[in-house]
Subunit: 474 residues, 2 copies
């Protein structure tokens, strides 16, 4: 039988973007139908009386959570969210290319309104509307707690940035152009050093790096700038961190609800740990510098200290994904505040560009030269991803807290890193963070490893120590 098609989908003048939006909407409707099948509710109720082990109880908890959340959202809203996310994303890409937010902002307003409607459906109007969306990426988190922790982080980051901007010497930069194949060979060697299992994965090029898959098929992508070989190396380490997490989940949990990742924040803690706390550490610099020199030549960097300084260069830029560790979280903090204001209605989408630029200038001391380097730089809001941004900084806080604990447990860690032996890191993370998958709720997972949910202190301590050592800040 042919699927039913809307009159719009049959129009000869339809654009590719419009057809894609219609397709995504139809798919979301079909998925919604599967996720809300009343038999699922019966099966979940029947399973409540069963004698389940810990993993089985987690399966049941996650299945019940998915069923409850899906049934609260009407099918037409689920379809509209997917359809409009696709259409608005397309408008965003055009607006960013043209460096002009105007044609995008009305669609963004519509997307925010749909997410507000979804939040209302999920929460029944109880509590902070932001929490119902945040919960989709970071189960159990609350805007109120994040607000408190982020305020303390902001207070600690601002003076660090002030001092760094006043630092005297510009750090060394790689010079010359490095061919793609050599960079990919280095990327593969670096992923191998981290323990990436090539029989369960592969590395390819992509416009925007990502990792993908689960179980025993977890692939990574990277991107190459011939003028800046650091981008490929550190993108690869980041995605390798994501992949190692997925590959480390207990195989008994594969393809089960309990076998997913615990949250986006936990996922990001793994990518940032490998990218920043291993890859950009002073301890691993001698090994990574030698590895890079073997594949790329000396890049005009005189020794591993210069390599380490180049890997931690401060750029007074405007782009989150290119920001160094000290500035990165300031990007997130402003997005968290702006998206809460968008959702609550305190900030109209039409006023976003001005609000963005003002906030950026207040936090970073400079003004974006245009919307493409301002409020249009990130894809997230165009797809309705509100509540996602804070998970990046939750991940950074988690990574710093994990590393602090790992250093306590493994006093000789720096010697191993200097020798290129990263296995103590993976061996420590696997049973504690990777293997449990989604068996434990996120706060319980953190408590089982760290005794508490991570806050800003280990991150601030890490950043202060790193940049004092690099630039002699006092």
């Amino acid at each position: 039988m042919p699927p039913e098609t809307s009159p719009d989908a049959n129009a000869a003048h339809l654009t590719r973007a419009a057809q894609r939006a219609a397709s995504r909407g139809a798919l979301a409707g079909a998925l919604h139908g599967r996720r809300t099948d009343p038999r699922l509710g019966d099966w979940i109720e029947a399973a409540r009386g069963a004698d389940l082990d810990e993993a089985g109880r987690a399966d049941l908890r996650e299945a019940a959570r998915s069923f409850a959340q899906s049934t609260r959202v009407p099918a037409d809203l689920a379809e509209a969210l997917a359809r409009e996310a696709s259409a608005t994303h397309h408008l965003w890409a055009e607006a960013r290319a043209a460096d002009d937010p105007a044609p995008f902002l009305p669609a963004l307003a519509g997307m925010v309104a749909l997410r507000r409607e979804e939040s209302q459906a999920l929460s029944g109007g109880e509590g902070d509307p932001y929490d119902a969306l945040l919960d989709q990426y970071e189960p159990g988190a609350s805007a109120a707690r994040i607000d408190v922790v982020f305020a303390r982080l902001r207070a600690g980051l601002a003076p660090l940035l002030d001092r760094r901007l006043g630092a005297p010497a510009a750090p060394p930069k790689p010079v010359g152009r490095v061919p793609t194949e050599a960079q990919l060979a280095l990327a593969r060697a670096a992923a191998t050093a981290c323990g990436y299992d090539w029989s369960a994965g592969r590395l390819d090029l992509a416009v925007h790096p990502f990792s993908s898959g689960g179980g025993r098929d977890v692939r990574i992508t990277t991107r190459v700038s011939e003028a800046d070989p650091m981008e490929c190396l550190y993108s690869t380490l980041h995605e390798t961190g994501h992949a190692l997490y997925e590959l480390g989940v207990d195989p008994a949990l594969h393809a089960r609800p309990a076998g997913g990742h615990a949250s986006m924040g936990v996922h990001e803690s793994q990518s940032r740990l490998w990218e920043n706390h291993i890859g950009r550490s002073a301890a691993a610099a001698p090994f990574l510098h030698a590895l890079a020199a073997e594949h790329l030549g000396d890049m005009g960097l005189d020794g591993s200290e210069a390599f380490h300084a180049a890997a931690n260069a401060l750029e007074p830029g405007f782009i989150r994904t290119a920001a160094d560790e000290a500035q990165y979280d300031l990007h997130i903090l402003m997005r968290f505040d702006l998206e809460r204001a968008l959702l609550s209605g305190d900030l109209a989408a039409a006023d976003l560009p001005a609000a963005w630029d003002a906030r950026f200038e207040a936090d970073f001391g400079r003004r974006p030269p245009g919307a493409a380097q301002g409020c249009l730089q990130d894809v997230h809001w165009s797809e309705g991803l509100i509540g996602y941004f804070p998970t990046y900084t939750l991940g950074n806080m988690g990574a710093a807290a994990l590393m602090a604990r790992l250093r306590t447990d493994e006093p000789a860690l720096d010697d191993a890193l200097a020798a290129g032996d990263f296995m103590p890191v993976l061996d420590w993370l696997r049973p504690r963070v990777h293997a449990p998958g989604r068996i434990r709720a996120v706060p319980d997972l953190w408590r089982s490893v760290l005794g508490d949910v991570p806050d800003e202190k280990p991150l601030l301590a890490h950043l202060t120590a790193k940049f004092e050592a690099l630039h002699g800040l006092s």
Copy 2:
């Protein structure tokens, strides 16, 4: 509820390839379940009494055909076909990279046996086992008729090739390296000249060029060799031909069974028509040469005649996809014979490399230097695609027959092509070939346009005329 997983899928030692094979098998099983849902049979029976228009009758015919074929194949066979295709494909890629067929051949034997079993299930043992597989790609075709036509084609091609190999002067070749961006700009300009609608598509890079999608979202990919800009240009024209076909289907048929392509042979007739009969024609050479020179510089080709000669260069190579028009079909003819022998059991998979090399030498007068340039060069058999190869030559015969008719209907065609006006071609094809989609059975579609099903004669006439003009063969 978690999906059921096999014990294998839970093994920690599983490779990426094995997990992918298991996933593809599971998906095929789920699809088989949907396609054989008994309610479909009830709905099809109920619809037989309805008052349907031509498109509705075609929908019903195609739905009934899909239901009947799916229900004849047991679910476990459908799963095994998908699972083993994935696993065997992986072994093929490794074997080709190593230029060693040995580790691949046992898996190929298993794949052939599964397809034999499928053929038996589909046909109930009636008729030529090959026909049941051929029918999946070229509905209504028969090996017996193809055998007759291919024998005549072979008889006509062999002397043409003999004479060409004896031709005196090597054709001119492009010299120098052309940057990717310039080649992509030329590719976009060439697709635009053919009438490709960018609001309903886009062009990207891929390892193996393909076109993808339907309705109003039909995208194309191409590949770039900086040393040989002809590859990107003609790959793009080929994929543009595929895309123009999909984009030309009557929008009222979109997302309906009647809105699919008529057959793989008809699809290929469109790609080869634009690639060879327009793109490699003497008539269009002045325009395409000027367009190429505008984007790429002169490439060391002195004038449009040199460009035309270079676009039709004969290479005494071993690879089907790189073969010129005169050799291409000889590649197909030998694959057709070999795969029929594999399926019937007259040729064991273990004996394929020797059989390949012997046949290649007999047809082409040279022996492949290794299996990677011999029996491992094509992906098809590794995925169980037996019965697919002849559609390429059916497409070439169709393209030549369509062009002969188009030239009769449009006597001033060459003037338009020389001026870069390709719209008379698209305007002629659209109502006749594109718009009907799958409304008519393939032989009926051909008869409606040409009066008969295409045979080898127009193709041989085209090749003889082209290469006599190029090389003065007599």
